[in-house]
């Protein structure tokens, strides 16, 4: 129920931002459409702990900041690889074991890997082993150093 309510608040807030009109009748229609969407989401059983992990948004501020810096660094790395001759790239496929316990932690970790250019998570096995494609040797070492793994675990409150 708590998740349904927070989903409603998010949707309604989004509606208010997007509409820009604040007449009583229109706002009531917006609230009704948000409620209808929540009802449909409940029927789809899409409302759960994983659906919109709000708890991560606030606690994760240091993590998102760190990720931003990583994204900028890897962008420069990839840009250099593209602009220099194709010989500069050394693509490789490798596997790492994610340290997180549940699927939400894996999702955050895998998406963080993919979000930093230069590395893409290609597959996730049932035991949390990621198959990762890396563009350059540096980007591969970045993932294999395991720093992101440690930080995601801390974000998920596991370490």
């Amino acid at each position: 129920m708590r998740h349904a309510l927070s989903l409603f608040l998010i949707l309604f807030g989004l509606w208010l931002i997007m509409s820009g009109h604040y007449l009583g009748w229109l706002v009531a229609l917006g609230a009704a459409s948000a409620a209808l969407t929540v009802w449909i989401a409940r029927r789809l059983e899409a409302i759960d702990h994983e659906g919109h992990p709000l708890h991560l948004a606030w606690r994760g501020m240091p993590y998102w900041g760190w990720l931003l810096v990583e994204i900028v660094k890897s962008n420069i790395d990839v840009a250099r690889a593209i602009l220099s001759s194709p010989a500069a790239i050394d693509p490789s496929v490798f596997k790492i074991k994610a340290g997180q316990r549940d699927e939400l932690g894996w999702a955050v970790h895998a998406n963080s890997i993919t979000l930093t250019p230069g590395t893409v998570t290609m597959a996730i096995d049932a035991d949390g082993t990621f198959t990762v494609h890396a563009l350059t040797r540096a980007s591969r070492q970045g993932v294999e150093s395991g720093e992101m793994d440690r930080r995601v675990s801390r974000l998920m409150g596991e370490a």
Partner: protein, 108 residues
């Protein structure tokens, strides 16, 4: 004075963002196979769009527009890795073999 500085900063951000987008898309053309090309579009989606939107943020005083710009970034940050992963996993599933350095002879 402050307005002039903000204007210059926004110029720099928008131009840098355009440059990143160009380089990333150049990667889409130049890199040898799908899996490597994914990294090029990743650049456009993260830093290219990010710098461009930041530059636009500095040009607006309307908070509604600012919120919408930030929302564009948030949506991109959520959807871009999902798309990349879906494509990579589908290509792997479809039997595409990632390009290795040893395949370079095939490239012109």
């Amino acid at each position: 004075m402050i307005a002039g500085l903000l204007d210059m900063a926004s110029w720099g951000l928008v131009l840098a963002g355009s440059l990143v987008i160009l380089v990333g898309t150049l990667g889409l053309l130049r890199l040898p196979d799908l899996f490597t090309r994914l990294h090029g579009t990743g650049m456009t989606d993260t830093m290219g769009a990010g710098l461009l939107v930041l530059g636009m943020l500095l040009q607006t005083t309307d908070w509604l527009i600012a919120v919408k710009l930030v929302l564009i970034l948030v949506f991109l940050a959520i959807t871009s890795p999902t798309t990349s992963h879906a494509l990579a996993s589908a290509a792997l599933y479809g039997g595409l073999t990632p390009w290795r350095l040893s395949d370079r002879k095939d490239e012109p």
